[in-house]
Symmetry: C2
Subunit: 242 residues, 2 copies
């Protein structure tokens, strides 16, 4: 692969001979924390141009410059899978974003349901978690974490061709519906809040032709566990694990 | 079901007319935190006798007594699945124990591998996490969290009939081996430490006839994510989700 031990996400374009100026934070991390010096190699990705080997050509206290030397890997997009989830406690919401990135979701959409406690999210902080998870898991892509939207409004304009795998806690203990390879295409996974979906939401979801309800076993899973479990079921049959 | 809104794990035997003395901590939780009084209903389980409705008959500051009135559910054992994992950072180790309990592992076995950083675990603290997760997820069973043992020693005495689903990070990007329904019986899932397994460990595992290596997609999963994903794959085909 490459001699670079550190993977760094940057905003700038990456390409042959491209120089990449560093922010003060990035310079601090590379030169003070990780103690890299001139000539050291770093793996860069920006979510668009794949992964590049870059060399430190200037290292300063408040900045620095890297130079792209070779593309190590092309951009690899995840499957067209969204994760819709109702924000829960801070640590568990962070966790869901981290896990969705590792598991290969293409877009992370927080939704406000009738029983969602949290009415605000820090979108920028969650996006930073997705970047960090992408750095760690070796992905060349970073899913967008969208702004919180009401589930009602999202479903009112739901695209006809995008299926929804609905983690429906009312099915507790039912046989897990196995996904079929015949349903490839765009999908979303929908995980509810701790209080579950309201009766009105359940009625609405049950009537949508795009929706496949799924059971996740006989125990009540926390929302973060349910997200990872549903992503696994989907990825193993329809996604890039298959 | 029952009118009890609170589920509590207790050590004592549960049965018809059985009275259950509370510890000071349990009394504080029920009477001070949750503000229950005499006559209130609580759901009790002890991991052996199923779930019981019990009534508060004495409520004090440092103790109290509950009386079992009716069994609401019999004991439901999870499938015969162990989770073997190498302890990682404290919060993520706690998380693995919580998730393994929710997902229905029967036994949680921390293992010390050659690349495991942590040489000690607080077994009692982890067991308390399993109890808390069982209270939350509605399980009538609590998996034992065993003491940390070296992986080498565990494999040297490994039972011939217990299969191992080995989360092998060397298979990154390989097609996920789908488990077959023809392999029912005792299993264990083995998840490695952040540094992966050593060459010696990999050679040994590859030679064991009980071992099925499994790929978990093209991204590098953290150990806690890998544990939930592997438990999902197994439960959906061979476990009590199927």
């Amino acid at each position: 692969m490459t001699d670079a031990k550190i993977r760094l996400y940057v905003d700038q374009p990456l390409g042959p001979g491209q120089s990449v100026p560093l922010t003060a934070d990035q310079a601090h991390y590379l030169f003070a924390v990780m103690r890299l010096g001139k000539g050291a190699a770093v793996a860069l990705f920006n979510g668009r141009d794949g992964e590049w080997r870059a060399e430190v050509i200037e290292a300063g206290k408040r900045g620095g410059i890297l130079l792209c030397t070779a593309q190590m890997r092309p951009l690899q997009l995840p499957p067209d899978l969204w994760l819709l989830f109702a924000p829960i406690k801070k640590a568990r919401t962070d966790f869901i974003v981290e896990k969705a990135t590792e598991m290969g979701a293409a877009r992370i959409q927080p939704v406000q349901t009738q029983h969602t406690n949290s009415e605000r999210i820090r979108q920028d902080r969650l996006q930073a978690h997705a970047v960090e998870a992408a750095e760690q898991c070796g992905s060349t892509f970073v899913p967008e974490v969208a702004e919180l939207v009401p589930l009602d409004r999202l479903l009112a304009a739901w695209p006809a061709e995008r299926r929804i795998l609905w983690c429906n806690e009312s099915l507790l203990g039912a046989r897990a519906a196995l996904l079929s390879e015949g349903t490839r295409g765009p999908w979303a996974i929908l995980v509810g809040p701790e209080g579950g979906f309201s009766e009105r939401e359940k009625t609405r979801l049950a009537q949508m032709p795009q929706v496949t309800p799924v059971s996740l076993g006989p125990r009540i899973l926390r929302a973060d566990t349910a997200a990872v479990a549903a992503l696994t079921l989907w990825q193993a049959v329809l996604g890039d694990w298959a």
